[in-house]
Amino acid sequence: MDKILRIDMGAANGPKMTVEPVGEYAGLGGRALTSIVVAKEVPPLCHPLGAENKLVFAPGMLSGTAGAMTGRLSVGCKSPLTGTIKESNAGGQAAQVMARLGYAAMILEGNPAGDDLYKIYINKDGVKIEIDNSLKLLDNYPLVERLRQEYGDKVAYITIGSAGERKLLAASIACTDPQLRPTRHCGRGGVGAVMGVKCVKAIILDDAGMKMRPPVDPEKYRDANRKFVEGLRRHPVSGEALPAYGTNVLTNILNEAGGYPTYNFKQGQFSGSANLSGEAQAQLEVKRGGTATHGCHRGCVIQCSGIYNDKDGHYLTKQPEYETVWSHGGHCGIDDLDTVARLDFMDDNIGVDTIDMGVTIGVAMDAGIIPFGDREGAIRLMEEVGKGTPLGRILGCGAEITGKVFGVERVPVVKGQALPAYDPRAVQGIGVTYATSTQGADHTAGYAIATNILKVGGDVDPLKPEGQVELSRNLQIATAAIDSTGMCLFIAFAIMDQPETFQALLDMLNAFYGANMTADDVVELGKKVLSVERDFNKRAGFTAQHDRLPRYFYTEPVAPHNLTFNVKDEELDQVFNW
């Protein structure tokens, strides 16, 4: 990955591309690359939909190699949803293919003057940028079907649905999986709106004629990868639970722990949770001829995804993730998996963040637009988003805006981004991450659930404030580093519990790059990424006052534990003091 592709979408005579050596960004990948580029090249005070914002696509340091789990693509910009720096990543095939084409990054700059829509095709011979207004307002599934007729099946597609074109703040960027379904999304932060304002509808990546990226020491790489895979298979989470049940295995344990946010964060348990569980979902999928075990990118050995068919055995959607089943399920008082699956399909098709969209519908329920538990009503609201009606535009801009428009007090967002599927009053560690992450309320940024609830990598009581700041800090640092490697974050369970598996990951990095990184170097990389992001946010006007949860989490206890969020402000302000 020795080159960077820049495309100035706003150039006077049409998009102008340059390919330059990777230069000062050499050795970086994924989130490290996107955040360092954005922090350096995007004025923090710019309007996120303005021409000064840039959209940076970067595969990870090990993407496009023969290593396992390396398929994550990072997309970075100033977020139109949060106003902070944003890194949003997805699985699918795009990272693997972009890396094999030799691009460390693709950077979209400037905004076109007119409203023509562009598609960008990249193969070993170069880059073609063409206007194609016939694609206007196509949603992701029909869009990919249309593009397949022109570009075929041996490519990877990066697309936006109608939501991105409409610049909705919940708009996502979709990456196709190995079966060419647009189901892996850079979901959070409205990155799809930035792609939309730059009038790029689709990026088609074709690595025909390109090879796997070669390691400096192929034998050591192969050996380290073998040990890494063996470690992933041996760990019960990555080797058994995730392949068997997917992420939705979490529904039952969060409900049992009293941290499952229900009816817009009014209580910590949902009476309908058993109907939504990962166990029930896996059984239903298999019964209907789908599967509960599927990899979102080639090289994945965890296979946490699946295929969800309807009652007649026809494809309905990818296996909904825990966040989706929660946001469209318990958060909204809906206990029907078919309804959740339908809404999941709509999220993927329209191209919106499943967390923000589900939370928004729950806030709309709290506003009385439809009642909690109204399955058909939730689908109707999503249809409004897909049509771009005035109500749809409000909802598609997320929970904070919807809450303001309809006069809702309890809106679960931090820095404008909706809280994911864990109540911070019952899982205090994730509350620290929600409040302090550079990304807004974000669970993957520092997944304290692992240690608070799942007892992976140690044991910190979820109900007490003690130990949460250190836990969140360490996880935020580690995640920033992993996000830069192109590795799926679900390697974290194995590398946190099994030192030899963490060592295997280090050995892979060192064998590939001919380096001598130690664990300390990985920590330094994570710290560097976070520091760069914090600095951008500070220059964008963010202060310690923004690193807080909404007021009601401090004043309203949630059942069954009847706790409020108890980590003190002074402690939150210590997260980034290392």
């Binding site: 989470v237 995730l242 049940y245 992420t247 166990e279 993730e321 825990y322």
Partner: protein, 81 residues
């Protein structure tokens, strides 16, 4: 004393001498003073699996003494995101 027992993510009662054999959601009558660890042995769950025990929504260790009408949820190692 009566316990409300829920076994998750593929765990089942493996003791053929119990009426709950093969089930994952059931009530069970156990002697007063039974601990979480003793319950696990009674249910004949594979001793090699590291388990997560939630008693009335709290994580508890194997030596925790159960009370009448407790609800226990038992999980093998699971994860997600």
């Amino acid at each position: 004393m009566q316990l409300e027992i829920r076994l998750f993510a593929g765990l089942k009662c493996n003791n053929p001498q119990l009426p709950s054999f093969g089930k994952d959601a059931f009530d069970l009558d156990v002697p007063t003073g039974t601990t979480v660890g003793e319950l696990r042995k009674l249910l004949a769950i594979n001793p090699d699996i590291r388990l997560l025990n939630m008693v009335n929504h709290h994580h508890e260790a194997d030596d925790w003494v159960l009370q009448d009408n407790d609800r226990i949820g038992i999980f093998p190692p699971i994860g997600g995101g």
